[in-house]
Subunit: 436 residues, 2 copies
């Protein structure tokens, strides 16, 4: 344990770190390398005094004394020499319990943990409120891109109406390679793994659950109403075929996994799924492992925040920003914005959400086919924006782009189209976003 003699003279805020992984190590290095600037900016020195890790004996190449390391996260939280707890373990437990413990001891918490915030956010914010200390989490979404604080503070006067995020670097890398180089999903994913963009088990990236947690966090702040990860309708990218990506490209679109959050009649519509984005939309230029959030507000119009959405160093920048903020508040006896969920909005069920759709049908190549199809769409109140044939004879395909339609009506349409004798197969159904 760091004894009093280890403390520098003058103001110092002592940080207890939970987790010694990539981000944790990057945070330690950042706080040490930039100590002088941080002291100027925080009004005090920031020192990592304890680090809870799985194996305290392992050499992590950090300039910290051996006794700084412990395998007991509880010990770090309880340590009277720790002023601020920085949680970088990830996952729900034990993070939740540790953060609640820290807050109950009056210690501010900085975290980059999207899972626990998207599932137990209310409980954590209530604890932070009760204790009168900060709970900051800029690193939980978008790595180093300032998103949480701009939404909570800079845009506090704005009514955000829609938010479209590319918030998962792995899937964006995979889709970029599929789009630009014609790779298959599996080949692109293997490449992402080799480059370190994908975990050895990339399930949470591929199935959209990582993006869903971030979507819930962003929607909660944007619409001032608690949204949890389970509220978010979710489809992954594993069903996206090279043919869909190529067809999108021919039509002037690019396929992206998007986190979508919108106010629909004051309800919150939240969903994560692959979608076709027009190539001239700012989000279309978000390539490889980059992230971005595109916002629309009543007065501010369109905004986009773009950058590196993951990785140790970018995330460490976000965490350090929070630590500086929290340290300033601790010394000044003040607090930043706490929970901003002062409304209770309903979550709109997926079947009632509105959107545009792209349909690719294999059809008979003969007169009257379009009339049959148009009857089905019309009967279901799905209005067609554009339609054209690709290929002829056995290869005949029909591409349809709809106007905004309700998901339930679209799904009924697809079921009925599948039963039409002139439709040999419904090959693809993809949502279209970002069109005026």
């Amino acid at each position: 344990m760091s004894g009093p003699e280890a403390r520098p003279a003058g103001g110092v805020v002592r940080v207890g770190l939970l987790g010694g992984g990539t981000v944790g190590r990057a945070v330690v290095r950042l706080l040490q390398d930039r100590a002088e600037d941080i002291a100027q900016r925080a009004g005090c020195r920031l020192e990592v005094v304890r680090v809870a890790v799985r194996d305290p004996e392992r050499d992590r190449g950090l300039a910290l004394p051996p006794h700084a390391f412990t395998s007991s996260a509880e010990e770090v939280v309880a340590d009277p020499d720790v002023d601020v707890v920085c949680e970088l373990i990830g996952g729900v437990e034990p993070s939740r319990t540790l953060m609640l413990d820290a807050l109950s001891r009056g210690k501010p918490v900085v975290t980059a943990n999207k899972e626990v915030l998207a599932s137990h956010g209310k409980e954590l914010f209530d604890a932070s409120e009760a204790a009168g200390v900060d709970l900051a989490f800029e690193g939980a979404v978008g790595g180093g891109i300032p998103m949480i604080r701009p939404l909570k503070e800079s845009l506090a006067g704005e009514r955000i109406t829609r938010l479209i995020g590319i918030v998962n670097g792995t899937t964006n890398y995979v889709l970029t390679r599929m789009d630009e180089d014609g790779l298959s999903f599996q080949d692109a994913l293997d490449e992402a793994r080799e480059l370190g963009y994908a975990e050895s088990d990339p399930t949470a990236d591929v199935d959209g659950s990582d993006a869903a947690a971030k979507c819930a966090i962003l929607a909660s702040i944007a619409f001032n109403s608690r949204v949890v990860a389970d509220d978010v309708y979710r489809e992954g990218i594993d069903a996206v075929r090279p043919e869909d990506v190529a067809a999108a490209r021919r039509l002037g679109y690019v396929v992206k996994l998007i986190a979508f959050a919108e106010l629909e009649d004051e309800d919150v519509a939240v969903r994560v799924h692959p979608a076709m984005i027009p190539r001239d939309h700012p989000l279309a230029a978000v390539r490889e492992a980059y992230n971005a959030v595109f916002l629309e507000g009543d007065r501010v119009g369109e905004l986009m925040l773009y950058g590196r959405g993951a990785g140790g160093d970018p995330t460490a920048t976000a965490v350090a920003g929070d630590l500086i903020h929290v340290a300033r508040n601790l010394l000044g006896g003040s607090r930043g914005r706490g929970c901003t969920c002062y409304r209770e909005r309903a979550i709109r069920p997926m079947e009632r959400m509105e959107g545009q759709y792209y349909l690719l049908l294999e059809v008979e190549d003969r007169p009257g086919v379009l009339a049959r199809i148009a009857t089905v769409t019309g009967d279901n109140h799905v209005s067609i924006k554009s339609v054209w044939q690709e290929g002829t004879g056995e290869e005949a395909q029909l591409v349809l782009i709809t106007h905004r339609a309700v998901e339930g009506a679209l799904q009924r349409t697809v079921r009925e189209l599948r039963e039409l004798p002139v439709v040999r197969a419904v090959r693809s159904v993809l949502r279209v976003e970002g069109v005026e």
Copy 2:
């Protein structure tokens, strides 16, 4: 004057507005239309109680009692019923004196005034420091795009090394129309005027001085060292010819007026000028009247903040965010980040700044020309990255793109090239930015 009976029960922070122009009116409307949400977010109500305008009799269509208006800005600042002063007059005087007066009375100031901050920032921050109250200015750069607070707070742990901004909507609109539709500078400017993107006197936009003031503000924050508008080397866009824009397009570039700020050997290099940006750079997609700041940091990598950089409503969003922040601090007895210029960095003279250049030369069409030219560039330590000929005979032109070179060496090169018998004319010299 608003009597006590006009005040609502409960916490209220009373705003005195200086200036009733487009932004001022938009601020009043925003605070009124969104009063309920703002009260939740600020922890108090925000009420505009006084407005200083040129003609208090004129109907501005605002839901404020006639006695709220006065022609005396001094009276608004001195009014004991005014808790926060919101300065939206613009220009150096009387804004500077009014803001100093407000601060000396212990009243926080929110402003969108780039000119006074870029020329008298130190004096104003010193006064804010002495009074212990906030001076907030998110609206001064980039309209509704969160820039100031993300730079000061979210990125407080980061070492920003370079910043390239498109911070003037008028010139970006003009250059977009020249690029996409082949318009001349004058025709594009006339169109911008008709659409309301340009003032009737667009001098400060066209000559780069608006962008230079914003460049000074951004550089001061990014590099923690005071930069004033006069420190910023400046070239406008009036010399940009349709031929340059077309040539840039052929080469895969787009011409933008950029505000550039960089650390060079710990000195600050700041300049505003037209530059060629590669078409696949995120800034190239910033079209029409949009603004963006592209940042590079040691750890965070590349970041971009994008949106509507001007206009009453977007700027009002920034001002309202500041008012909410300032009101929360006022009630909580705390303060936000004050001046962050804790270093004194030298300003690098233009002739010592480094950059890449594009040169368009009219040349004799015969063997040995390139050798003569390459001798001149080589003698001046300007290294050529690529070179090719366009046209033949009387129309022969040589296009050169240099590697990074020092401005002074480049200018000497251009002078010597002009004297070469084989060079008929140096048609264009444009900087190139955003290349790896």
